[in-house]
């Protein structure tokens, strides 16, 4: 791997859409990023993509609660409900601190829960210190232009295509070809790994380090693991990694 000396800043591992199964109900959280750059189409696209990849994770007819604090119109809420319905999920309740969203939700016939202190649920600044959420399991090809972010480990049963990105605060497992960009330990954890059946990445990033693949990629047929060594990101055979390597907290690298 060719390592680049430029260091990365920490990346928010929350995406525009976050799904969380809580008992019998599914929470759909739309975190409040930079409000000016929220592109509604991409929010809906991301929601559908996420539902598509993990539709086996819940039963059909599961009740969905939407948590969003930015202003949504009736049409946008209905768009969400429609997208959920395609995957046999029912939007029932809208939790929001935003007045306009509350009115729109009531107008569309959803139950409304107005709560001013919801920010704490999705505040990205404090998630790094919190314990990590459950892993995200996606059974789909992640195609060019898609970006999967998750505050824990991501498991992809499919390919990560060139032009696609996976960003996880935990590890990244690609049970297929990794050809796009993978960023593990995006919260700064240098002990994280990226594992792929076939490693042909555009870039690998772990915590604050970055490496790109050598221009002439040697053909290898074994699952590989990427990790931070003292001299930067390195690749090793995935099979025996833990027998031969251990993480040193003092130097912040595996050896």
């Amino acid at each position: 791997m060719t390592n680049v000396t430029k260091y990365l800043s920490l990346v928010n591992s929350y995406s525009q859409v976050h799904l969380k199964l809580e008992g019998e109900k599914l929470l759909l959280i739309l975190p409040e990023g930079d409000k000016s750059i929220i592109d509604w189409w991409s929010v809906v696209d991301e929601l559908k993509c996420r539902l598509n990849g993990s539709d086996s994770s819940w039963k059909s007819g599961t009740r969905v609660e939407l948590i969003a604090n930015y202003a949504l119109e009736e049409k946008q809420l209905q768009g969400i409900a429609q997208a959920l319905e395609e995957f046999k999920l029912k939007l029932k309740l809208v939790c929001t601190s935003n007045r306009q969203t509350a009115i729109a939700a009531a107008g569309s016939g959803f139950s409304v829960q107005q709560e001013p202190h919801l920010e704490t649920v999705v505040d990205s600044s404090q998630t790094q210190s919190q314990e990590l959420a459950e892993p995200l399991y996606l059974k789909t090809t992640i195609r060019s232009g898609m970006e999967v972010r998750h505050p824990s480990t991501i498991v992809i049963w499919g390919d990560l295509n060139p032009g696609a990105k996976a960003i996880a605060a935990g590890d990244i497992f690609v049970w297929g070809r990794l050809r796009g960009i993978a960023h593990a330990g995006s919260g700064g954890d240098r002990s994280r790994h990226i594992v792929a059946l076939k490693m042909e990445p555009t870039q690998l990033r772990i915590a604050d380090t970055l490496a790109r693949a050598p221009s002439a990629n040697p053909e290898r047929f074994e699952p590989e693991v990427a990790y931070i060594a003292t001299e930067g990101i390195r690749l090793a055979k995935a099979m025996d990694f833990f027998k031969t390597h251990s993480f040193s907290e003092t130097i912040g690298a595996w050896r």
Binding site: W41, K48, C49, R143, S144, D159, R179
Partner: protein
Amino acid sequence: MSRIIVVTSGKGGVGKTTITANLGSALGKLGRKVALVDADFGLRNLDLLMGLENRVVYTAMDAIGGECRLDQALVKDKRQNQLVLLPAAQNRNKEAIQPTQMKEIVSKIALSYEYILIDCPAGIEMGFRNAIAAAGEALIVSTPEVASVRDADRVIGLLESHGIEKINLIVNRLKPDMVQMNEMIGVEDVLDVLSIPLIGIIPEDKRMIVASNRGEPLVLGQPDSLPAIAFDNIARRLEGEKVPLLDLMAAQDNIINRLRRLFRT
């Protein structure tokens, strides 16, 4: 039940419109009732390729706005009478109509036609969203070039998230001689990234350009040419027939090329 198929690629200039025109004509040859819908508002081309420019009176915009009846806007093809074209408005831009309006008009056409082929504009903005709104399945057009494959991959992702699951791939403009010499990425490499079913390969052919400029689809003008046979085969595959792929590499696999390849590697 009619089939509504959007022809799309993401990247421009890979041959969406040419493929729509030829595939429509090929389905017409099989006796199907076909409607071609030009969804490229503001940059319409499909009427030119079909040689129907001088017959356009009303456009999709007029039909949507209620300024004419739908059957007035549908232009009958001059060669096949079971083939019609719904032209796009030339003076409007892509924001002029909404996906719901597109859906409405296409579902009206679907009442009387067996196949509806929608020619999608390049890009993934409003025009794309309009074009795919009504579609039940999609044909992805990609040339064997890295940029084209990348864009096709993006579009497949968007189609999947819109619930369109039946997606087939057409590889266009393949140059067998260049693939043979390892100068061009092959069909396998395209399939490797896109991982969707392949429904046909169209070889590069000068006659395609000539036919496009004349406004006469190659499928009808020169039915014995290799691209025309490839189009006919795609039409038959759409119909559910099992047709083996043309062996485009066969002509290249001669002794001289083998020797040349041997000395290159």
